[in-house]
């Protein structure tokens, strides 16, 4: 039926005027769309995405880290790109062949439509928090994969359009697992990398050109195109990446990062080092900060020095010792950037928690920032172009975590950090204009802050906790809430409580809407752009907007987050 319907206008209408041609094109596009190709492609993309995502997410939500989460997204993107390539570029039946000279453009149109659908699905996934990454990163990676798929289709034949994304996915997997392949891999690079964006654009454009130029041919000199296609697809990635001007903003500078043993601190250290910036990072877990230093150094240029220092930044004496150590080791008399990032959670209730707990959290989250400012401000002034970056929190905007979830010490400290940092803006502008200050307000980022906070309280891992420790961490009110949510039985055993605690610790890290790597990228982008206020994550932006829009309803949760009238 379709074949006959398509063939008629081409065979009988003869040369058509412009309006007729447009009508014919629309009709052919419609026939193309209602043939089995597009529905099949869409269904396959959906099925493939759901299958890969659910399997990988289910599995890696237990065991995976940021690299695994990146790979989930890349696998879905590569699969979608393969479907786009295979669907838009042969082999074709009579229906498509009958479109004659319009066939290349129909293929191009199909590729663009399917690309748009895939991009929409991916951004929806990112918005819902099921996939990591922002819109820019999704667009770049999907475009790159699709371009490779179309090039592969042009080179090897339409059905082999999957080979390009598949090959690239494997290469990317190597890079994500830490092997020295990064110059080639755009997908493993920060979204702000212009070289990677340029490569992607080039590959995508080449893919679209290939599908249009070779779109009218069923067979061709594939033996010739086979090698050339992959060279055309893969070589520009490496060559342009290598040629692209590296990010020079941070190059040659010396940054101080506190809390560098894990999470955002570790990622900040690694990304700064990769951008050519020497880093001195400290953490009270000496072995973990040493590992950070090794990781950061591994991806850094030869002239970059990364040092790890053990120390507790809530103790001024140790901050001063850290300062002296790093100046000696780096052979500098100034520092250019200070990221006061260290922090822990806890001290939830002013009423119920011990004074010792409350004050420990406050000291770690507030005094550490204050002592770092005291210790490093003269060195930032000496830099002539210093930046002090203080990490507050979304709880520096809103002193709650929701109904029944207190956060007293943490929120108090984070409000203090925010107030202090904002007060420094005018102070520095007036008395030390060579230094600027930035306030970081992260939402939920997949860090180890929960596990670190337990360690800071002297508690063992969840698997070794005693009943008394668990009773303190999960009081009756919290247990009732968990039971209501189906996360805990009514009368849980000790082992069930331990498992629940372990799950809470792991879920905070693994099921966060934002990875530490992305958070670090957002922070560094903000610093580079000169922002003084950096919201990290959609949840942070949402809460910021809601609290500003309805200050009187800030702690009336139903009202605060009701859609009506919210910003």
């Amino acid at each position: 039926m379709t074949t006959a319907g398509v063939r008629d206008p081409a065979a009988d209408a003869g040369p058509a005027p412009a309006a007729g041609a447009a009508r014919a094109l629309l009709r052919l596009a419609w026939l193309y769309a209602v043939s089995r190709r597009l529905p099949a492609a869409l269904a396959l993309m959906l099925a493939l995405g759901a299958l890969l995502w659910s399997a990988l997410h289910w599995h890696w939500s237990i065991a995976g880290g940021p690299a695994a989460r990146e790979l989930i997204t890349l696998t879905v993107q590569a699969g979608a790109a393969a479907v786009v390539a295979v669907s838009s570029y042969g082999p074709f039946g009579e229906a498509e062949r009958a479109t004659g000279r319009w066939l290349p453009y129909l293929r191009l149109g199909t590729a663009l439509v399917l690309f748009a659908v895939a991009f929409g699905a991916l951004t929806a996934g990112a918005a819902a928090g099921t996939l990591p990454g922002g819109t820019g990163g999704q667009l770049r990676d999907l475009a790159g994969f699709t371009g490779l798929g179309l090039l592969s289709a042009a080179a090897l034949g339409g059905t082999f359009g999957w080979t390009g994304p598949m090959a690239y996915l494997i290469v990317t997997e190597v890079a994500l697992t830490g092997h020295p392949a990064t110059p080639w891999v755009w997908a493993a690079r920060p979204p702000s990398d212009r070289g990677a964006a340029l490569c992607t654009a080039a590959v995508f454009a080449a893919g679209l050109a290939a599908v249009t130029m070779f779109g009218g041919r069923e067979t061709g000199r594939r033996s010739l195109y086979a090698g050339l296609g992959f060279l055309a697809g893969l070589l520009p990635v490496g060559v342009v990446s290598q040629m692209a001007e590296p990010d020079r903003w941070f190059a040659g500078k010396l940054a101080v990062v506190t809390g560098g043993g894990s999470g955002m601190g570790r990622e900040l250290a690694c990304q700064l080092a990769a951008a050519g910036c020497s880093v001195a990072t400290c953490d009270w877990h000496a072995d973990e900060v040493a590992e950070t230093a090794v990781r950061a150094q591994a991806n850094a240029a030869a002239e970059v020095l990364v040092t790890g220092h053990g120390g507790d930044v809530s103790d001024e004496e140790q901050v001063l010792r850290f300062r002296d150590e790093l100046l000696a080791q780096h052979g500098r008399d100034h520092v250019d950037l200070v990221f006061a990032n260290a922090g822990i959670g806890g001290g939830s209730s002013f009423v119920n928690d011990s004074r010792e707990d409350w004050e420990r959290v406050f000291a770690n989250d507030w005094w550490s920032v204050y002592y770092c400012a005291r210790a490093f401000l003269p060195l930032l002034i000496a830099s002539g172009d210093g930046v002090l970056v203080n990490t507050s929190s979304v709880n520096g905007l809103w002193a709650s975590l929701g109904p029944g979830m207190t956060n007293s010490a943490y929120a108090t400290a984070k409000f203090a950090v925010r107030g202090f940092t904002e007060s420094l803006i005018e102070d520095l502008r007036t008395h030390a204009p060579q230094v600027r200050v930035a306030l970081v307000l992260p939402g939920h980022v997949g860090t180890d802050i929960v596990a670190n906070s337990l360690r800071a309280r002297g508690l063992p891992g969840p698997g070794q906790m005693t009943g008394a420790q668990l009773a303190e961490l999960l009081p009756p009110g919290a247990r009732a809430g968990l039971a209501k949510a189906g996360l805990l039985p009514e009368n849980p055993s000790l082992e069930e409580l331990r498992q629940t605690m372990a799950r809470m610790v792991n879920d905070f890290r693994d099921k966060a809407p934002l990875t530490p790597a992305r958070a670090a990228t957002i922070i560094l982008d903000g610093i580079r752009a000169g922002a003084w206020r950096i919201l990290v994550g959609r949840d942070a932006a949402m809460i910021d907007a809601a609290v500003r829009a309805k200050p009187d309803a800030a702690y009336d949760y139903a009202e605060l987050f009701s859609q009506e009238g919210s910003a």
């Binding site: 696998t75 295979v86 290469v171 190597v174 092997h179 053990g310 507790d312 800071a456």
Partner: protein
């Protein structure tokens, strides 16, 4: 059309014994010539170079390290598996896509036979490509005089995996003949391999060892140098892959149009046999355990493989005492001697000080990190036993000479104070720390080094009740005592050690008794 028309005539012709094999060979030759797999081999070659070969070049020149990433962690299988599955699905779906299934069914040869020949051609290209690429890589290694022995069993296990992926893809294509069969089979193969790797990271024992890209226990630190690669696990994986291959190919012979009743019965038998073989392999692996030389599967284990390999050691006297290692480690001998020099100098004249050092086999337990790598001092005269282990030498996995040297010094001092596999008494810990300071390893660096060696640490990252905010490194009573001891004049410290070493090693000395 020609085939169909000619078939009845050929069927009536009296057959000779050689007619069938010759016909199959001819058909195989045709399928080999028209197969799609060769088109993908250049791409796989590029991927193989990038993913399998290139990362290995950053490793020291030992077979166990050069092949750790590509064969030990299964990346060669990841490079081949998805593509082979995709192409095999393309070949398997060929008749279905062209709507000639009915036509092919009416030819002289049963459809299943023809399908098997098509699969065989695909598998020959795939496995052949795999063997050629691995062979070329091995030739490069051999040209670079890489030390030790190649892991031949793992090469065979990889080839079996490639064949299994081709069978899986072919079966998928045969049952779902669509243009999307190839990409779906490829992405399904990739997903299976990644899940296999990830499950392998979590499950370090039992059935999970059978997974084709599970790297746990595959290679041990001295495999191919001090002891052979154990073939137990690769044998089990070969059994699994062969079983899956048989079962999947047998499945394609079950549909009614695959052939006559006898042939379909044969296909059913092949399917059942394949499943039985795969199930047996999984069952065997479930009883496996990690031995000192690798994964031991009792039913497959040959005790002859437990032997250590004989070798003539190479020695150096640069440290002040003879230090002897396996010739494969000769390039690291200078670094080892340099690390031991200050240690031996410190020990000089003390009771029980070793008068030579020899390499002993190292064992790596992936479930417990690097623990078990302790040095020993034994015999009369005393000999220091050093488990070097390829996985922990300078240059392996980014380890620097300084890090490795520090770890060697720490392990030597740990053995010298008699702490054995435990963290030792507090007095032993303090003396060990003071001796390390004497060798040039500052107190501040010792806690991190302790955790990296896998030894029980007395300055653990998990805080103790006395330091709820997390202990600053190298502080506390142990380090206070160590600092006191280290501050003594060298002669006084030496004299005190000479007088108290026996009591220290027997654990009778307390921290308060240190000077």
């Amino acid at each position: 059309m020609t085939t169909a028309a000619a078939a009845p005539a050929r069927a009536r012709r009296p057959r000779t014994r050689t007619a069938a094999p010759v016909g199959v060979a001819r058909l195989l030759r045709i399928e080999l010539r028209r197969n799609t797999m060769p088109w993908l081999l250049p791409l796989i070659a590029a991927l193989f170079w990038f993913d399998s070969y290139r990362p290995s070049t950053t490793m020291p020149a030992l077979w166990v390290l050069q092949t750790f990433w590509n064969l030990g962690q299964g990346h060669t299988i990841i490079d081949f598996g998805p593509f082979v599955a995709g192409v095999a699905a393309w070949m398997g779906s060929r008749d279905g896509r062209r709507n000639v299934t009915d036509l092919a069914t009416t030819t002289a040869r049963p459809r299943w036979t023809v399908q098997l020949i098509t699969w065989a051609a695909t598998a020959i290209w795939a496995v052949g490509g795999y063997l050629v690429f691995v062979g070329a890589m091995f030739a490069v290694y051999a040209g670079q005089h890489v030390q030790g022995q190649p892991p031949w069993w793992w090469v065979v296990a990889g080839a079996a995996a490639v064949a299994a992926f081709s069978a899986a893809g072919f079966a998928a294509g045969a049952f779902v003949p669509s243009r999307f069969a190839a990409p779906l089979a490829a992405f399904g193969g990739f997903l299976a391999l990644i899940m296999s790797s990830q499950t392998g990271f979590n499950d370090t024992s039992g059935w999970a060892w059978i997974l084709p890209t599970n790297s746990n226990g595959n290679f041990q630190p001295d495999s191919g140098m001090l002891y052979p690669y154990l073939p137990d696990l690769p044998l089990a994986r070969i059994m699994l892959m062969a079983g899956l291959t048989l079962a999947l190919l047998g499945l394609t012979g079950l549909p009614a149009r695959a052939g006559g009743r006898t042939l379909r019965r044969a296909a059913a038998v092949v399917t059942v046999a394949g499943l039985a073989l795969a199930g047996t392999a999984i069952g065997l692996v479930d009883a496996a355990h990690l031995g000192p030389h690798g994964v031991v599967i009792p039913a497959l284990h040959d005790a002859a493989n437990d032997r250590t390999l004989s070798y003539t050691p190479v020695c150096s006297r640069a440290a002040g005492v003879p230090v002897c290692v396996n010739p494969a480690y000769e390039s690291g001998l200078a670094g080892l001697s340099a690390a031991l020099t200050p240690v031996v100098r410190e020990w000089s004249g003390l009771p029980g000080a070793p008068d030579r050092a020899v390499q002993t086999p190292a064992v790596y337990d992936s479930a417990n990190g690097g623990s078990g790598q302790i040095m020993t001092i034994s015999g009369q005269p005393a000999v220091l036993g050093i488990p070097l282990g390829a996985l922990g030498i300078s240059g392996a996995f980014g380890a620097t000479g300084g890090q490795v040297g520090g770890e060697l010094q720490l392990l030597a001092e740990h053995a010298f104070v008699g702490a054995g596999e435990s963290r030792g008494t507090r007095a032993q810990q303090a003396v060990e720390a003071a001796l390390l300071q004497g060798t040039g390893l500052p107190f501040s660096q010792q806690p991190a080094l302790l955790s990296s060696t896998g030894l029980p640490s007395w300055a653990p990252p998990v805080p103790d009740p006395h330091h709820p905010d997390g202990p600053p490194p190298a502080t506390g009573p142990v380090y206070d005592a160590a600092r006191r001891l280290a501050a003594l004049p060298s002669a006084a410290r030496h004299a005190w050690l000479a007088a108290h070493l026996a009591a220290l090693r027997s654990g009778q000395l307390t921290l308060a008794q240190l000077p």
